[in-house]
Amino acid sequence: MPDRENTDSKKLNKINRNSILIADDDRSTREYIRFHLEKAGYSVITAEDGLDGIQKLNDQSVDLIISDIMMPEMDGFEFQKKILDDPDKRHIPFIFLTAKSQDEDQIKGLETGVREYITKPFNPKLLVARVQNILRSSGAEENIRKKYEEMRVDLETASKTQEFFLPERRRIFRELCFDYLYLPYFSISGDIFDFINASDDQIVFYVGDISGHGTKTGLLMTAAKTYIDTLIRNEKIFEPHKIIRNLNKEMLKYFGDHHMSCIFSLIDLKTNRIRMYNAGHPSPLGVFSSGQAERIQDAGGIPVGWMPDFNYLPDDEIEIELHEGDVMLFFTDGLFDCENSDSTMLGYDRLAPVLGKGLGTIPFDSVCSEVRRRIENAGYDRLIDDCTVVIVKKSAEY
């Protein structure tokens, strides 16, 4: 916790005028510089050497430091290094003001990253003009730094909000077990998925991917999720093609240039039959009796948000019955749009061969991480997009 009085005095300093620290072991030089800077409207603190300067800066913040190089306790180079090493102070502009006037001295000084190297004797008016210039540009830098920090906090909040919307992991609805893996690439993701209890015997499950990245995509994802929830829970619309039809009509108003690929499915818990409509989304994979991951041939239509008059028809739905041990994998393109060290992309067509056999014989809550592990083992360990995997396994064991 910062000391309140200290923080307030810092604020006052900032509002009123810029403050400058002068470190010089020669008293008359200190006072001479102080006189000219105060005349120009700056508030000035003085220190006798680097060590004294560090101590003064513990109590008070400044906007600029002017330091001599040759000083008894801690010289200017060491003082400047200590400032650079302190994450709270390294942004403070630093000026060397020194009698060391040889070219090699100046080069050595400038190589440390200081803003100015001024040699004694100096013209006080020139010094003040340089200070003004530096403070003007560092004021702009400071504003950018603050804006950036604000943005970082906003993104963090948005990311936490998205996490709040995630369903619970390891959900079991009678004989069907659900689990997922969710890896947002940036702090905000356009991936979307959920399983919703539609009625006593029915689950609506969906997975989708909103095009684009960043805040707008994240907000659209939240809007889409809220709208889908309302459709299912309040309007009681469960049929996949109908949900998508409604979503397409509604979302075209808000999506602009964005669109969403998605799979909606209605699952009957009595029969373990899954009815699904695929709107331009990567087809799911299934692991059935052969044990080999294989592409599920689905019909479907185009992504939501492309065409206002596209006819999402029930004929384009497919139905699959899950038997004991069967697994279905739904995912977003981030799962296969990942790269190996040669920047070669895995790609959809290579996904099933890479996953291979045996995903049906491991516990349902290990399948997602095993999927990632097998992809990484094949060398494709670099994610370049949000990645979501959701699995459904029929297993009477739980």
Binding site: S211, G280, G301, I302, P303, W306, M345
Partner: protein, 112 residues
């Protein structure tokens, strides 16, 4: 940056893509540069044979071309689509709304 060159055969405008990627980085610029060409023609075909990669933003740009063609009653066809662009188109079911032909000749014939 030039995204394409154009050729005309009778009343058909052929837009030959010269870039090898169409993604979030350049999709918007492509859309803007294609707009004036597309608005002048009723029959447009896009040659994809130079394109090696497309993502969802690139697909989105193609769709907005299609929408523009639709508003003026025009027709849009694709040809020369190579892997892995073809896989992306297949997954997005883009063939449900745009005719995709193998060759330039087939694409020209499909207009008549």
């Amino acid at each position: 940056m030039n995204f394409f060159t154009t050729e005309t055969i009778d009343d058909i405008t052929i837009l030959i893509l010269t870039v090898d990627r169409l993604d979030a980085e350049n999709a918007e610029k492509f859309k803007k540069s294609a707009q004036p060409v597309i608005l002048q023609a009723k029959k447009v075909m896009i040659d994809f044979s130079n394109l090696a990669f497309i993502d969802s933003a690139g697909c989105g740009a193609m769709i907005s071309c299609l929408k523009q063609m639709n508003t003026i009653g025009g027709e849009l066809k694709f040809f020369g689509v190579r892997e892995p662009v073809a896989t992306v188109f297949k997954l997005a079911r883009i063939n449900r709304i745009i005719d995709i032909l193998d060759t330039r000749e087939q694409a020209i014939r499909s207009f008549y």
